[in-house]
Each structure stands twice: as structure tokens, then as C-alpha cells.
């Protein structure tokens, strides 16, 4: 897929042009000018397809770059380290702190054990995450895209590797224009091999979430791991290499729905990264000794364009392509310091703010707005519901399924008998003993198949479900005395050595009065 297009011939003398004393001017246009989306090559080929422009993001330095380094270290750290954290659950049980155990349909997180039928906890978590994303976006724009999205983090990592082998922007561009020299070839090869290795470790880390990490690591190395583990390592190696190394900004622009959706969360009070054109325009290079009166602060050095990983010019206003990574802020602040002008020509600001600057006094930041209140309240409600459910979560769960065919059985002594399948789920990681009580009708005699002596407690294995067949029989005269053909009944399971209990309502069916 070699659709890379080299930019115009690189001329070292370009860097002799100064935008201001001591500030070189990048003689480049953003690869994504609104009126130059199609490259020359496209027009010449009479195609209806856009090529992938080559972007050489320059290393930025500053507060936001540092924040991004920290976020990268923390998120990647969590990703790679989490499966290796141990947690003792007792003999015979997995000792991995976080484990998605598909085989046993369990999600283990420390002392918490979520069963497949309790997946609503995960649903709640996802809803909270989505609402959190809405809230953050409505306050500060695409923070997710700019800092924490895996696509951004891994692309950032891939660019670090690329810079290590091929140099920063200028060096890299120069190398690319010198033809296929040996120097260029081995550096490119080293880059791609490094990317593939990163991909391999990404996929390698992923599979550890689904199987005991040390065991699986050993199996992977000795070639004895399950086929599916190798398949997923392979898939994630390729996708990481392809999406983070090769495709990069193409993923954000063409594949991801979030740039389209986020428009619904932004409003005039959302902080977005903007070029303050009121302050910056008219832009032009600044010569030593010239006055700053009657002109903008933008010296058109294009440092903001050079650092942009998306290949846009932020000075063109808010754009779909902008992931709001804030690197242009760092780049511009750096320049402003050099030319001794105030920082913040490119900054987090709101549309409202931009407008008020044009028309008069500055408008303050409004974080508390109906939109943010709505999102916060929704998060609070879902969070409270989840917390309530989690705190009231019983460590034993009973389900009762009454026989429906036949609804009841007439016995030879004239009595009426109902059958139930009772399932006791022990969500503890130790075996536990329970007793079953059936309440609601006087004179009901219960029997449990395979459990003749009812004074013996029912033992349920650790993290296991036991299904029992329970019969409840009522003598003839008592059955005839029932007021209805369906009488409420409650089945209660109580732990013998503890306080855990769970009950379920069901009904006793009979021919009726």
C-alpha cells in the first residue's frame, strides 16, 4: 500500500528564511488545506481518490507534550502490567487480579467476581464511560481523542520509534528525499521491525487478560499455547502495526465515528483548541526592530503546522481532522516566548470567548451549563444505581423454575405435588453449605431428589452452581382447601455457616377449589 507521496523538493535554504529573529520559517503548507484536499498527483491521475499525504510531525516541547508523555506512560503501563498483578483467591482458583475467564464465564477483578448473568455491571460501566466521554467532550472538546484514545497513544509511540530511527521532521524529510540510499533503507527497515515488535507485544499483552499470564507466557514461548492465543497475538500484531504505524491519522479521519458524533456534544461554551485570529491576524513575518502595532502576533512561522500529527493548519479554524492533542499550543507558545509576545495565540478557548473578544469584553468560562449538568446527573444516577446493586449483591443466588408440563401431579393418595428446579449459585470462592426453606403453604412436604436426608446441608462448590430437583406435595384435604389454582410460595436459601441468603417467589399449582 505505497500511497505515500513525497512533498515538494526539500530545500535547505528554506530554513534560512526567518519568520522572526531567531525563528526559522517552515516553508510548508498543511497537507490538509480546505481548498487543497486533492494533491497534484490526484488531479493528474484524473482519479476520484485521495492519496495519503506524508506527514512528518515535528517533536513538540511544552506542558501539553509532557501531559501526553505522562498519559502515554500511565495507559500503556496499565495495559502491559495489569495482567501480571497477582491476587490470592485460594487453592484451585486463578490468582490473577484481573482475568476475563471465558471458559468458566467469569470476570474476575480482585475480590469481585462477575458472572455471565451479571453482565449488567459491565453495561453500567460502559454507560458511565460513554456519559463521561460526553461530559468531558462538552467541557473540553476531544480530550479523549487527543490524549487517551489507544489509536492516539499507540500512534504517538510509533512516532517516537520512527523519530529514533529516522530522525525528527527535518532530518527525516531530508533522508526521504535522497532516494533509496542504504542509510534510508536500513533505517526504514529498523522502524518497521520495531513497529511490528510493538504490535507483537501489544497482541501478546492482550491475550494475558484471558488466561493466567505466567502460564500463557510460558506456553506461548514453548509453542504449546492454544491456537486461538496465537491467532489473536497475530491479529493484534498486524492491526497495531497497520493502524498505529502505517494508517495513523487516516483511522481518525476516515474510520472513526467519534469525530462525527462529537459535534452533538460541543457547543459555544466548550473548550476547544483554537487559533485566536483576532490577536494573530494579519499575520506576516516579523523583522527585528519592527513595531508590533497594526499587525497580528502570528509571524507565520508554521511551527503549529509542523508539529501537527494530523497534518492540518489550526489557523483555518475548527476542523474535523483536529484531534485536539494541543501540540500546536506547545509549539506556538515556544515561539511566542522566543519573540517575546504573550503566550496563548493558540489555546484552549471557547467559541463564545472568541466571539466576545471580537465584540468587546471577555466572557468567562462556563463549565456549569444545562448540558454538563444533564450529563453529570445521568452519570450520578447510573453510578448510584450500580453502587447500590454492587453493595446489595448477594454472594448466593437462587433461581426457581417450576415444572410447567405437567403443572401439577395427582398422587395415589389424592395429594397434589409440584416440581421445581432449584439452582443455587455460590459466588464465593470457597465451598459453602446451605439449607432450603419453602414457605407460603401449611402442611407442604418437600423432598429433594438425590438428597433424601434433608437435615444434611446442601454443599455447593466454590464459584459454582448446583441444580436440585425439589418436590412439594400437599395432602388431598389441604389441596382442596386452597383458595386458588395458583398459590404464592417462597423458596429461601440460607447459608448455614454464615449470613448469606437469597429467596425467590414462585407458585404452587393445583386443580383449585
Amino acid at each position: 500500500m505505497n500511497t505515500m507521496e513525497t512533498p515538494g523538493p526539500f530545500k535547505p535554504e528554506d530554513f534560512l528564511v526567518e519568520a522572526a529573529p531567531g525563528v526559522a520559517r517552515h516553508d510548508i503548507d498543511a497537507v490538509r488545506q480546505p481548498n487543497a484536499r486533492r494533491s497534484k498527483a490526484d488531479d493528474e491521475a484524473v482519479g476520484s481518490w485521495a492519496g495519503k499525504p506524508a506527514i512528518y510531525p515535528k517533536l513538540a516541547r511544552g506542558i501539553f507534550r509532557n501531559v501526553k508523555w505522562i498519559v502515554m506512560a500511565v495507559t500503556l503501563g496499565i495495559y502491559y502490567v495489569l495482567p501480571w498483578i497477582r491476587f490470592d483467591r485460594g487453592a484451585g482458583l486463578p490468582d490473577q487480579f484481573f482475568l476475563v475467564d471465558f471458559a468458566n464465564q467469569r470476570l474476575l477483578l480482585g475480590p469481585l467476581e462477575i458472572w455471565a448473568q451479571e453482565f449488567y455491571y459491565i453495561t453500567g460501566l460502559l454507560i458511565i464511560s460513554a456519559l463521561g466521554l460526553f461530559l468531558v467532550t462538552s467541557i473540553a472538546g476531544r480530550v479523549w481523542c487527543g490524549y487517551t484514545c489507544p489509536q492516539t497513544v499507540w500512534t504517538d509511540l510509533m512516532i517516537v520509534v520512527e523519530r529514533f530511527w529516522q530522525g525528527d521532521r527535518n532530518t527525516h524529510m531530508r533522508r526521504d528525499q535522497n532516494g533509496w540510499t542504504f542509510d534510508r533503507v536500513w533505517r526504514k527497515a529498523a522502524t518497521h521491525v520495531s513497529w511490528l515488535l510493538i504490535g507483537l507485544f501489544t497482541g501478546g499483552a492482550l491475550v494475558f487478560y484471558f488466561r493466567d499470564a505466567p502460564t500463557l507466557a510460558n506456553e506461548l514461548l514453548t509453542g504449546t499455547a492454544p491456537m486461538v492465543a496465537y491467532a489473536f497475538v497475530g491479529i493484534f500484531t498486524l492491526t497495531t502495526y497497520l493502524l498505529g504505524g502505517i494508517a495513523r491519522e487516516q483511522v481518525c479521519i476516515y474510520m472513526c465515528p467519534w469525530p462525527r458524533i462529537q459535534g452533538a456534544m460541543l457547543d459555544h461554551h466548550s473548550l476547544i483548541i483554537s487559533y485566536r485570529d483576532v490577536r494573530g491576524e494579519p499575520r506576516s513575518p516579523h523583522k527585528k526592530g519592527d513595531t508590533w502595532d497594526g499587525r497580528g502576533d502570528c509571524i507565520d512561522c508554521k511551527a503549529c503546522v509542523a508539529v501537527c500529527p494530523m497534518g492540518i493548519d489550526i489557523r483555518n479554524g475548527p476542523q474535523l481532522e483536529c484531534i485536539q492533542c494541543a501540540l500546536c499550543i506547545d509549539a506556538c507558545n515556544d515561539i511566542m516566548d522566543k519573540i517575546d509576545r504573550p503566550r496563548g495565540l493558540i489555546a484552549y478557548t471557547t467559541e463564545r470567548n472568541q466571539e466576545s473578544r471580537t465584540s468587546g469584553p471577555r466572557d468567562g468560562l462556563r463549565i456549569v451549563r444545562p448540558r454538563t449538568i444533564l450529563y453529570s446527573v445521568a452519570i450520578a444516577i447510573v453510578g448510584a444505581a450500580m453502587l447500590w446493586a454492587l453493595l446489595n449483591r448477594s454472594s448466593v443466588d437462587v433461581t426457581v423454575i417450576p415444572d410447567r408440563n405437567p403443572l401439577f401431579v395427582k398422587l395415589s393418595n389424592g395429594g397434589i405435588r409440584n416440581g421445581y428446579t432449584v439452582k443455587i449459585a455460590n459466588k464465593h470462592q470457597t465451598p459453602r453449605r446451605f439449607k432450603i426453606d419453602v414457605a407460603g403453604i401449611d402442611g407442604l412436604a418437600t423432598t429433594i431428589i438425590g438428597h433424601d436426608d434433608q437435615s444434611v446441608p446442601i454443599e455447593v462448590g466454590p464459584s459454582n452452581v448446583k441444580a436440585l430437583k425439589l418436590f412439594a406435595a400437599l395432602p388431598r384435604d389441604k389441596a382442596k382447601a386452597l383458595a386458588s389454582d395458583s398459590t404464592p410460595l417462597t423458596v429461601t436459601v440460607t447459608e448455614i455457616d454464615g449470613a448469606a441468603t437469597s429467596s425467590r417467589d414462585t407458585s404452587f399449582r393445583s386443580p383449585g377449589p
Binding site: P34, K52, P406, V409, R417, G450
Partner: protein
């Protein structure tokens, strides 16, 4: 698309050249070229897929593909794998006396599940999905047994069946008291009243029932017992418990006496293996009436 480019005045972006409603134009925002390549790759993938997997219908069938894959074949493989996985349990069940199966938790659960599956496949046609029975086909949930409700008795009944010609089958019929002229119609009606009175003394013609008492003692008690409590050895049902195989109305009981009864059941050992029969017996026994 030859010719000069049309440029949108507001944005400065090239348009596709299409104009709707006089002034509505579409900006030309081309898809990335790699998108096209992905499409080509999908086409190539599809061709490969056709070669490997079943794909195209032909006049008399379909193209099989190099792998020879079929869902039916996959099912056969899965079934064989499941059977192999079950083999240890099946062997253990074969080696365990049927009365001991219930005491071994894992064997018992396996037998219940296997028995339930086999019941659905083989027995539910007559006895019903929930073994609730029908007229002429006993309810297997209750505690009223015709040929015995112990594990061994149930296993024997399933294995060899009832009145089917098999040497070991349960094999005693009920005489045709009416058709063969053993009893006069009036005596039959009286006997029927007596039989019904055994379980429902108030719901019958008491005088007729009184008259039928002698007939019952003479003709019926030999098999059904003095008090109509039945006889498991002979497969003579209990007539005193209000549970009727052929119905408890005067007409139904009369018909039973006139024509006799002789419901049949196949010898399942000729169709099922002994382990399945054993599991079936454990399952039926667990339905609630097992002795």
C-alpha cells in the same frame, strides 16, 4: 469528468459538478485511495473464499470448495467429539449398579441429563414432553406404578417393554369380559360402579356398586386385589387411587371391562444401548414417583 474544474465560491473547494434545485452543489471530498485497495482486497478474498468454501449453486448441487466444509459434516464431527468426551461417564455408568448411580454426584447428574435427552427423543411421543402421560399412556410423574416404580423395575420395563412379543416383556393382558361373553352387560355396569366407588364412594350409583361387589370379588380381585389396590407382578393397576390410565368415567371404566386393555410399549433395548436405558430409568425414577 473531463473539462475545467468547478470551484465552490464560498469554500474554494472543487465540486463534483452536479447541481440540484438550481444552486445546490456537492463538494468533492474524495475517499482515500487505500479505501479502494481495501475493496480490491475484499474482492480477492471473496474469490479465495469461493475456492475454499462451498459457494455457488449449480444445477444439481453446489460447489464444494477445497476444504470440503459443510455444516452437516461439522455437526457430525462435533457429535463424535461430544460422544468421545462422554465415554468415560458412560463406561462408569455401565459399571455401576443402577441403585448406586444416585449416590455418585457426577454420575447422577450425567445420567439425569442423558436420560432427559433420550426421553425427549424416544419417549415423549407417547408419554408427553414432561412425562405427563395421556389416555392409555401412563403419567410417569406420579407415584402410581403399573409395573413397579423401583429403579430395577423401571429399567426392566424400558428395556423389554410391554406386550410386544419380546420374551422378557411385561406380558399379562386384561381379559375381554364383555366381548368374550364372560359377563352380561348389566353385571359389567354394576362392576364398573363398584370400581369407581373404590376411589369416589359418593360419585356413583351406590345400589349398583353394591350389586357389583360380588362380581368384582369373583372376576377382578384375582389380579387387581381384594380392595382393588392392584398388583405390580401382573401389571394390574391400582383401581382405588383415583388415577386412571384409560379414564375414570362410567363409560370409560365400562369400556375397559368390556374390551379389556392391553397397551403395548416397545422393547427399547433393541433400539438403545444399555447405558442409555439405564440413564432413562434413573431419569424417570427422578421425576418424583420413584420408589
Amino acid at each position: 469528468m473531463a473539462g475545467h474544474k468547478r470551484i465552490d465560491e464560498v469554500t474554494g473547494v472543487e465540486t463534483t459538478g452536479h447541481v440540484w434545485d438550481g444552486d445546490l452543489q456537492e463538494l468533492n471530498k474524495p475517499l482515500p485511495r487505500w479505501w479502494l485497495y481495501v475493496f480490491y482486497a475484499c474482492v480477492v478474498w471473496a474469490i479465495g473464499y469461493w475456492m475454499v468454501y462451498p459457494a455457488w449453486p449449480t444445477l444439481s448441487g453446489y460447489t464444494q470448495g477445497y476444504l470440503g466444509y459443510s455444516q452437516r459434516g461439522q455437526l457430525a464431527k462435533d457429535v463424535a467429539a461430544a460422544k468421545a468426551a462422554q465415554e468415560t461417564f458412560r463406561q462408569a455408568i455401565a459399571a455401576t449398579p443402577i441403585t448406586d448411580v444416585q449416590g455418585k454426584e457426577d454420575l447422577f447428574q450425567f445420567a439425569l441429563a442423558g436420560g432427559a435427552a433420550a426421553f425427549g427423543d424416544n419417549c415423549s411421543g407417547c408419554h408427553g414432553r414432561g412425562a405427563q402421560g395421556a389416555v392409555g399412556y401412563p403419567n410417569l410423574n406420579d407415584d402410581d406404578w403399573i409395573w413397579g416404580g423401583s429403579l430395577e423395575q423401571i429399567e426392566h420395563t424400558i428395556a423389554y417393554g410391554i406386550r410386544n412379543g419380546n420374551e422378557q416383556a411385561r406380558n399379562t393382558p386384561m381379559p375381554r369380559f364383555g366381548l368374550d361373553g364372560v359377563l352380561e352387560p348389566a353385571a359389567i355396569a354394576d362392576a364398573a360402579n363398584y370400581v369407581r366407588a373404590l376411589s369416589d364412594p359418593d360419585g356413583v350409583d351406590k345400589a349398583a356398586a353394591e350389586r357389583g361387589k360380588a362380581t368384582f370379588a369373583e372376576q377382578c380381585a384375582a389380579c387387581h386385589g381384594e380392595n382393588g389396590q392392584g398388583n405390580l407382578e401382573l401389571g394390574a393397576p391400582n383401581l382405588s387411587d383415583g388415577i386412571w390410565l384409560y379414564g375414570g368415567s362410567q363409560e370409560a371404566v365400562t369400556q375397559s371391562i368390556v374390551t379389556g386393555r392391553g397397551g403395548a410399549m416397545p422393547p427399547w433395548l433393541t433400539r438403545l444401548d444399555p447405558v442409555t436405558v439405564k440413564m432413562l430409568a434413573v431419569y424417570v425414577h427422578s421425576l418424583g414417583g420413584g420408589k
